[in-house]
Subunit: 244 residues, 2 copies
DNA sequence: AATTATTGTCTTTCAAAAAGACAATAATTG
DNA sequence: CAATTATTGTCTTTTTGAAAGACAATAATT
């Protein structure tokens, strides 16, 4: 949400986009969550509005870039959230109460507040990225952005926690078909690293021998040289995604 | 679309819902498409807007009921359509040109037209119904409603044809898991009828023996008495969906 | 009673997934 | 430098599940 200048006709009214960005680090699946730069603990998914002359997919990419600095990420719709009671009202009231002076600084007037506190329908998008490729930079309302393990989320505003869980379900359903995991690994990697990634996403173990076969049979990996780790064992091969 | 009184603040702006309703008849999958009651051949999916105090799922059901008379149908979201150029403008201009006098009758003024011809984001919903249970009644802008086989669609406005194809893809992906086919069959039916339904939806044949096993193994059917058809062969059993 | 078309179910075949087995390393140890 | 160790790459076997084939059991007709 860009709180600075949501002038009525610049954006579509009462429609927003929320982004669930999954990343992978330390063999764990994590979610990117900014903390808002206001007094009080407000964590919210990267979100924003749709400009009048902008595709919704474009808007999702722009919002993600503005809030986090992430560019060129493939985002995918997973669900629309639109119950009648779904509004920023409760959250904004708490924010206003805790930040009586700061609101002026942000250029927040009653008009803007009224615009923001109406009932909102939100389109949920999700993506997968490689945490190590990511250069985070905070947006203008985000004090700090952090990766949280999916089992250790902070307390999120509105229905953002539900959004994360539904995004995760969708990711698990689609992972094999769409190979979205592409984004999550470094340029080159071992099969074992792919397996650890899958195990983090599905939160369950896979059999080593069969996992290797399943992945290699897909013919999407290109085998490179061996990777010598210095350990007392056979060195694994390093792979990268085939260009096609 | 209720063209009669889309007062600005009664509905969420620039957000609509389109319904793709699949029905089954004569061993064919069909789609419910109303023809608009204007001069000129305007076919459009049952569509409408979301009231301020209404869940989007509720809105979808209301819209479907208003436009077609279908009540208590389980609808499911399948996609949001939201390219920047997506608007009613072209279609409305053609409609206005062909219906210079009729617009007054409908209470369409320039203000309303302006509201309608902006860029719209639309949430696609789909459902499956039993054509024989359906009692169609036209909404106030629909001259007639008809079921069209999915291979013989009329020429639809905007991106409605694309919507139908994406809805069909989603249906095929989800049919087994969600058993939405529930709605499509009469109260009691034979396995063969279920098979014909599947064959209509997937547009391909299934092996009789294995299909029977696959369906019965799911344990969702309750076997009733036999069905004597008067034909010179063994009578099939009649089933119904288990209540649970 | 023989014939016919179709159903319900069993068996066999084929294919894919899961589990098991083992040789080939790449270092370390003594 | 041979024995040891941990891990990888791959093959074989087992299990499971889907596809195909086979056939008896009808319910009416001839």
């Amino acid at each position: 949400m860009n709180l600075k200048s949501p002038r009525e006709q610049e954006y579509i009214q009462q429609l927003s986009i929320d982004c669930v960005i999954f990343g992978y680090e330390d063999e764990q699946l994590k979610v990117l969550i900014p903390k808002l730069d206001f007094t009080g603990d407000f964590w919210a998914l990267p979100a924003g509005f749709i400009q009048q002359e902008e595709d919704i997919d474009e808007a999702a990419r722009r919002i993600l870039a503005e809030r986090t600095g992430l560019a060129d990420i493939y985002l995918e719709q997973f669900r629309v959230f639109g119950t009648a009671k779904r509004s920023n009202k409760t959250f904004m009231e708490r924010l206003v109460a805790l930040n009586p002076t700061k609101l002026d600084d942000w250029g927040l007037d009653l008009n803007t507040l009224g615009w923001l506190t109406r009932r909102f329908v939100s389109i949920g998008y999700y993506a997968l990225v490689d945490i190590h490729k990511v250069n985070l930079q905070k947006g203008n309302i985000d004090a700090s952005i952090q990766w949280y393990p999916i089992r250790e989320l902070p307390s999120l505003i509105m229905d953002h926690e539900e959004m994360i869980h539904i995004a995760l379900d969708t990711l698990r359903l689609n992972l094999d078909q769409k190979l979205i995991a592409y984004n999550l690994l470094p340029e080159t990697f071992t099969i074992k690293e792919v397996q650890e990634l899958y195990e983090a996403i599905y939160e369950r173990p896979f059999a080593r021998n069969n996992f290797q076969k399943k992945i290699l049979d897909q013919q999407v990996l290109e085998r490179l040289e061996k990777k010598f780790t210095g350990a007392a064992n056979k060195a694994p091969y390093v792979y990268r995604w085939k260009r096609y």
